[in-house]
């Protein structure tokens, strides 16, 4: 046989991802929210909160004299990631299960890991587009600098989003209903944002909190982004933490996955 036959695991994965992507684009409300939320968040935080544009004086280099809004750039991305990974993604999967969309697919050779990864990829693409817009908005409105190490920043973002999505996949596997998925999602949403520096961005996070935070998916992403964005280092340890989450959470979610 000279025909190229994809292994059963991968067969149809491309078509599934493309179809999920098309279906996502048809849902205008979701698209507008997904794409517009991160840039509006950055602009909103910067304009609405008092003191965001004033330089902070008591910070160490390289942060000295930076306005607070710059420190919030990685946090805004973390917030966007958390919203998609912990709310949008598990709700989508559980809704498909409740409707019987997954039950229909259960009878085909498509495997759970294909379904999960396709959903993550579509959401990741939307997130990347939205966050590029958010960075551009921050640069235009507040003069937020571009990351010093763009490749490391991009890597940190993608790995962090994928790792946090792993938590969302686990929630989708465990939650019996969409309402439960939302509840569990919110339960981990705020602690994860806390570790991402929502209330103590960048270097203002206490050392002990930061030491714990770097072992959470979103905290690791936030710290890796800080390093790549402002310090110019390569955040190897954080990247390893995020990769480890992916390596553990995805197979676990696929194993616990229920079609109906």
């Amino acid at each position: 046989m000279t025909t190229l036959t994809a292994s059963p695991r991968l067969r149809g994965f491309g078509t599934l991802t493309a179809t999920q992507g098309r279906l996502f684009l048809r849902d205008t409300g979701s698209v507008v929210f997904a794409i517009a939320f991160p840039p509006l968040l950055v602009i909103g935080i910067g304009l609405a909160l008092p003191g965001m544009r004033a330089p902070i004086t008591d910070l160490p280099e390289p942060w000295a004299g930076m306005p607070a809004i710059h420190l919030f750039a990685p946090v805004a991305l973390a917030l966007a990631v958390a919203t998609v990974a912990l709310s949008t993604l598990p709700s989508q999967i559980v809704a498909e299960r409740e409707l019987g969309v997954l039950r229909r697919m259960a009878t085909t050779p498509m495997r759970p890991q294909g379904v999960l990864v396709a959903q993550v990829l579509v959401n990741l693409c939307a997130l990347v587009a939205a966050c590029v817009l958010a960075i551009a908005a921050g640069a235009l409105v507040f003069g937020t600098p571009a990351p010093v190490a763009p490749v490391a920043a991009a890597l940190a973002f993608v790995l962090g989003a994928a790792a946090t999505a792993g938590v969302g996949l686990l929630i989708a596997a465990l939650a019996p209903k969409a309402s439960a998925a939302n509840g569990i999602g919110m339960l981990v949403y705020f602690p994860m944002l806390f570790f991402a520096g929502m209330w103590t961005p960048g270097p203002t996070m206490p050392d002990t909190v930061a030491a714990i935070a770097r072992f959470t998916p979103l905290g690791a992403m936030s710290q890796a982004l800080n390093a790549a964005w402002f310090e110019g280092g390569f955040p190897a340890a954080e990247l390893v933490v995020m990769a480890a989450y992916i390596a553990v959470l995805y197979p676990l979610a696929a194993r616990l996955f229920r079609w109906s």
């Binding site: 059963p8 969309v101 039950r103 259960a106 009878t107 085909t108």
Partner: protein, 310 residues
């Protein structure tokens, strides 16, 4: 004939509820094989075990030589399944759904041919949410066939459809079988089973309570025939000679008619005997049992009225 599906002593419990308690049957190649039974009889659990979607507690299942319990991945490559309570995303179109599902299989059917064959050509760009119940069922059949399966399981195919749509779907099923696909049809519609199935089992409370071709089941094991006639003469005048006939079992009067129960030759024997006595009946009608009668006899209750799905 080749046996393509073999189920033996299948058992499955959910907690303390015994859904399937030793179901067994075989399906031959090219058949339309029916699985009938009241709601909760264990039909869906049985087909889910066949499709590798549900792990059985005991018994053996073999489909096309594959054990779906041991190798669910392998069975999904060769089996087409249409399940109850399954649907598609609202925004997917007919042709997108078929292309998507075709991409899951090693040697899929031509999606355009399926679309045309199932009368979906005008609706190929219609989104799932906008399809009528009948069109959704046709799409569902198309999806069950898109992997070019040799065996297809169709579960509660026409539930919620209007009579016209049901007949259209029946035609489709017969065409599919003519194309060489063995079909397992799960239904609780007696007329559907009678019309489509070559053979069937009736399952009740997790067990097979009757098995055979619809005509066989209707005829009953003893081959009993029942007919009623109106006579131009008083019944007493001919009672004795009819009573003596070997094929006649019982004679009763029902209103102005005489009901005769007997073997396969009861009718000609009675007519002949009456002719010898120069009696010509005014009218004769045979009473035929329906599959529904059989169902009531073996399960002890009438087929449930069907809830129409929204």
């Amino acid at each position: 004939m080749t046996t393509v599906v073999r189920v033996d002593a299948l058992r499955k419990s959910y907690g303390s509820r015994h859904a399937v308690r030793g179901v067994g049957f075989t399906v031959e190649q090219g058949e339309i094989f029916g699985i009938l039974g009241p709601n909760g009889a264990g039909k869906t659990t049985t087909v889910e075990a066949l499709a590798g979607l549900r792990h059985a507690d005991g018994g053996t299942v073999s489909v096309l030589g594959i054990d779906p319990q041991r190798d669910p991945a392998a069975i999904k490559e060769v089996l087409g399944v249409q399940l109850q309570e399954a649907r598609l995303p609202d925004r997917i179109t007919v042709s997108e759904a078929l292309r998507l599902y075709a991409s899951f299989y090693p040697a899929p059917a031509d999606t355009d041919e399926l679309i045309t064959g199932l009368g979906l050509a005008e609706h190929r760009d219609t989104r799932f949410a906008k399809l009528s119940g009948g069109l959704r069922q046709r799409l569902s059949i198309a999806l069950a066939l898109v992997g070019n399966p040799r065996v297809a399981i169709l579960d509660e195919l026409t539930t919620g459809l209007d009579p016209q749509a049901r007949r259209a779907v029946w035609d489709v099923v017969e065409r599919v079988r003519a194309g060489g696909v063995t079909i397992i049809l799960v239904t609780h519609f007696m007329d559907e089973a009678e019309r489509l199935c070559d053979r069937l089992v009736i399952i009740d409370k997790g067990k097979v309570v009757a098995e055979g071709a619809p005509a066989e089941l209707i005829r009953g094991a003893e081959g009993e025939r029942v007919f009623r006639m109106r006579l131009p003469v008083p019944f007493d005048q001919v009672r004795d000679r009819l009573q003596d006939l070997a094929d006649v079992d019982t004679l009763t009067t029902v209103a102005d008619e005489v009901e005769v129960r007997g073997g396969a030759h009861a009718l000609p024997a009675v007519v002949l005997s009456l002719a010898e006595a120069a009696v010509v009946p005014d009218g004769i009608r045979t009473l035929s049992r329906s599959l529904e009668d059989v169902f009531v006899e073996v399960t002890g209750h009438s087929p449930e009225p069907v809830e129409v799905s929204a």
